[in-house]
């Protein structure tokens, strides 16, 4: 038996894997929703918590159990709990005005539903900004017949981005000034630095180009100033999970942030990803992974040395990080590495805004205008761009490629891998005739292997491309060739956001996820629904197909159909799209082995496809899980017609 852990580890639910002794088929759980004080180390704030604690509550269910959850609202405002990722009757889904009326102050609402699945999930308030204010917890469901992956220890690692200000205030400030929280803007110092790197003229040209669009390449995180926490504990408070050297430790990673994506690694350990969004995947070993808002990943690690390991989670925009600890005994703290350099968006991340689509958005949306502004853009200037331009996105060649939509990569350079030959003499005139690639790809020309390149593209002259497509002879792409698997097809080629492992090793891609067991038979989708993710950054309006929730009709689905969603990200930000009540089968080209998710991140300038078997009735929420994007309008109600009464 492992030693009896001190209180903290116990509270943080350092649950040892218990034998499934109690075969309870019905469990009752009481949850209170309380106003709490949150101590983030650097600051204290008033927030909302479950069971009077800033340590997230962990609900442990068993597959097949019938759960009764009594939720008592001790707040002075309405609340609700949404069981994120659980498949349940729609009136139990906990979204005010869509599933139910909400829970009034003083009221105890009883949820009652069967647990039809296993895995790691989470729950949170779907009322106002209570979730960013702290109302979140974890759900761990043990499969029938016990865990399929053996582990000696089992910990929830729940991330959040605790902000000193309340959600309501944050939203208001963003509406007053969309860059209110952006303290990563380019400054005079950056100009001086870039001038040194690439020359003053090029640095100014680059600023001019972004300025023409009124966009910021530093706009990766629109709410900064938060303190990330693991299980309610900041770096100094140091959440710790104990292990004995050689033990297998299962970490149930959950990102419950309002806004922050995290890049998570445990220096010195490989992580074997065994589950994504509650569904088992074929094990894939990685050095680092990016967890989008609202996603979960279960990883197995096996620390063999009798020493401390750090769980390091840096926000995607590198504005904040948190360190937790895996240690052989209490009272140890892992090292805190320096945060890596801030990413900058590139023109590739703008791809979706310039592809000739999305003209019908209403005046407040950005779809039409930036296109006009971009039309005069001289691509010959791009050659001199600083390193953010590495892996330039060719989707901007609007005049060259007739294909208006940034999908189906008609040209795939991935075959360049390993060839190591100069691409001199390459003829691109055939670009539009190539057969479409099967998967969600970002740009008409897929230079995926270029990704990761960090050098100026000097010497590559695209200046003639706007006039004709076949004058690219002499272009040398050989330098772009990179080790296989370096490019992530779920980022625009050349995107500034493409992740790289801190140790140069393997970074998890959606492309690596393979369902362990298909949940549904593969069949052709009955129809496709295009959802363009749109917005007006300056006004802080976020929308779908140019319409906010308040302006849009619900999406109507038919019971029994298999619908294919096409997400086209026309904004410069990543959006974790979450469909309630039904699975989103992420198209990675693996057919029935495509991974099954509840939240799918769509990176800037990319198109991603998911398919959903409409096997439930009622009405559901469908939205970007960034709290302030959802509230600003990137949200839809989904109504299902037909089905069993």
């Amino acid at each position: 038996m492992p030693p009896i852990a001190p209180l903290r580890a116990a509270v943080a639910s350092a649950a040892l894997v218990l034998s499934a002794a109690s075969a309870a088929q019905a469990g009752t759980y009481d949850i209170t929703v309380d106003k709490i004080r949150i101590d983030a180390g650097k600051f204290r704030k008033s927030g909302v918590g479950y069971n009077n604690s800033q340590t997230p509550t962990i609900l442990r269910f068993k597959e097949g159990e019938n759960v009764t959850l009594n939720v008592t609202n001790n707040l002075r405002e309405d609340t609700s709990i949404h069981w994120h990722g659980l498949i349940l009757p729609f009136d139990q889904d906990g979204v005010p005005k869509i599933s139910f009326d909400g829970i009034k102050p003083g009221e105890t609402f009883t949820y009652n539903f069967p647990i039809k699945q296993a895995g790691t999930y989470w729950f949170h308030s779907h009322s106002g900004f209570q979730e960013p204010d702290g109302a979140y917890g974890a759900i761990v469901i043990e499969p029938k017949g016990g865990e399929r992956v053996r582990a000696d220890r089992d910990y929830v690692v729940q991330l959040t981005d605790t902000h000193p200000q309340r959600g309501k205030r944050i939203m208001r400030n963003l509406k007053m000034s969309a860059d209110y929280y952006n303290r990563s803007q380019r400054t005079l110092q950056d100009l001086i630095k870039d001038s040194g790197d690439i020359g003053l003229k090029a640095a100014l040209e680059d600023r001019k180009m972004w300025g023409r669009m009124r966009m910021m390449p530093t706009d990766v995180e629109d709410v900064q100033g938060f303190t990330p926490m693991i299980n309610g504990e900041s770096t100094d408070q140091n959440w710790t999970g104990l292990f004995k050297p050689g033990e297998k430790v299962r970490l149930r990673l959950i990102n419950s942030s309002a806004m922050a994506y995290f890049d998570l690694r445990i220096p010195g350990l490989k992580m074997t990803v065994v589950q994504a969004d509650g569904n088992d995947v074929k094990p894939v070993m990685v050095d680092e992974l990016r967890i989008s808002v609202a996603e979960t990943y279960d990883v197995i690690v096996q620390p063999k040395e009798n020493r401390v390991y750090s769980i390091v989670a840096e926000s995607m925009g590198r504005t904040a990080m948190v360190r937790g600890t895996l240690a052989p005994r209490e009272g140890m703290a892992g090292p805190v590495p320096a945060m890596r350099e801030k990413p900058r968006l590139t023109m590739a991340d703008m791809g979706g805004m310039m592809g000739g689509m999305g003209m019908e958005g209403h005046v407040m949306q950005s779809a039409a205008k930036p296109l006009d502004d971009m039309s005069g853009m001289d691509h010959s200037q791009m050659n001199t761009q600083p390193k953010p331009m590495a892996g330039m996105d060719h989707s901007q060649m609007g005049g060259t490629t007739p294909a208006p939509k940034a999908e189906a990569a008609p040209m795939d350079h991935s075959t360049m891998t390993g060839t190591d030959q100069p691409m001199a003499g390459m003829d691109h005139s055939q670009m539009t005739q190539t057969a479409p690639a099967p998967q969600a790809k970002a740009a008409p020309m897929d230079h995926s292997t270029m990704t990761g390149m960090n050098q100026p593209m000097a010497g590559m002259d695209h200046s003639n491309m706007t006039s004709s497509g076949n004058s690219m002879a002499g272009m040398d792409h050989s330098a772009m060739t990179n080790a296989k698997g370096q490019g992530d097809p779920f980022y625009a080629p050349g995107s500034g956001l493409t992740p790289k492992a801190a140790n140069g090793g393997k970074f998890l891609s959606y492309d690596d996820l393979t369902a362990r067991k298909p949940l549904y038979k593969d069949r052709p989708a009955t129809r496709e629904i295009e959802l363009r993710l749109t917005g007006n950054m300056e006004r802080y309006i976020w929308s779908i197909n140019g319409k906010k929730l308040s302006e849009a009709e619900p999406i109507v689905l038919k019971y029994g159909e298999r619908v294919r969603f096409k997400f086209v990200n026309e904004t410069m930000m990543s959006h974790p799209m979450h469909l309630h009540g039904m699975w989103s089968i992420l198209d990675t080209g693996k057919g029935q082995y495509d991974p099954i998710k509840h939240t799918v991140s769509v990176a800037p300038g990319t198109t991603v496809y998911t398919e959903t078997e409409v096997d439930v009735t009622g009405q559901w929420a469908f939205h970007c899980h960034l709290s302030y994007h959802a509230d600003a309008g990137m949200f839809r109600k989904v109504v299902i017609e037909g089905g069993p009464a």
Partner: protein
């Protein structure tokens, strides 16, 4: 159980169709671009320029107030209050319609209808262009640029140009006689972007017929002042 669930389903469906799925919260706020003390050659003044707004993405009601109060002897050298309705007409620009009351001390009150544009021009220039229409119409353009020296230290050059379209001799305004006000302010974001104290300089000068009227009145044309104050945003 099933029956209840069906009833709940039907009820919730009816309710959700009847109500908008989610009401957006009202946007409101206060933003003072200038709230400052001006040290002049002859006199010191307190100057402000703020917007207080309430509304939605689609329509905002804005109270805009600009004034200059002379210290010591007192009195409002200028006092302009506007009620403006502001609504989007393009990605980056709003149209403005409103009314303006111009009520300085010692001069007759003036009331104008306001037609304007407000927004963000390419290269991050914040622009206000307004037509003030009455028997004493004038046009005013305001432009501002925030140069980020660091992510908290901001240098803001600003330019305000007032072009009288009709003569208004009591106000020392001659049609076509432009008055130019140029400023340069260095601010530091002390508390978020809510409180940003600054120091700076301001220069105001009139041209053409307006300059003639000012000189004829025995006033000085071309006033330079050192300013200190704070920007506010709540």
């Amino acid at each position: 159980m099933n029956k209840m669930r069906n009833a709940a389903l039907a009820g919730a469906m009816a309710m959700a169709w009847a109500l908008p799925a989610q009401a957006e919260q009202l946007i409101y706020g206060f933003q003072a671009e200038q709230l400052e003390y001006r040290l002049g050659d002859d006199e010191d003044t307190i100057v402000w320029d703020f917007d207080a707004l309430i509304g939605t993405d689609e329509l905002k009601l804005v109270w805009r107030s600009e004034g200059e109060r002379v210290q010591g002897a007192g009195g409002f050298e200028t006092l302009e209050n506007q009620l403006r309705l502001q609504f989007p007409i393009s990605t980056f620009f709003d149209a403005v319609v409103g009314v303006q009351a111009n009520t300085p001390d010692g001069l007759p009150d003036r009331y104008n209808a306001v037609l304007g544009l407000k927004g963000l021009a390419p290269q991050w220039f914040e622009i206000d262009a307004d037509l003030y229409l009455s028997d004493n119409s004038f046009f005013r353009f305001e432009g501002e640029y925030e140069a980020m020296l660091t992510n908290r230290l901001v240098l803001t050059p600003s330019l305000e140009l007032t072009l009288p379209l009709q003569d208004d001799p009591i106000y020392n305004q001659a049609a076509g006689g432009v008055t130019l006000e140029a400023g340069l302010r260095l601010s530091y974001d002390l508390i978020d972007r809510a409180v940003s104290p600054y120091v700076g300089v301001n220069y105001e000068r009139s041209y053409g017929g307006t300059a003639d009227l000012i000189r004829a009145a025995g006033d000085e044309n071309g006033t330079f002042s050192v300013v200190f104050g704070t920007r506010l945003m709540f």
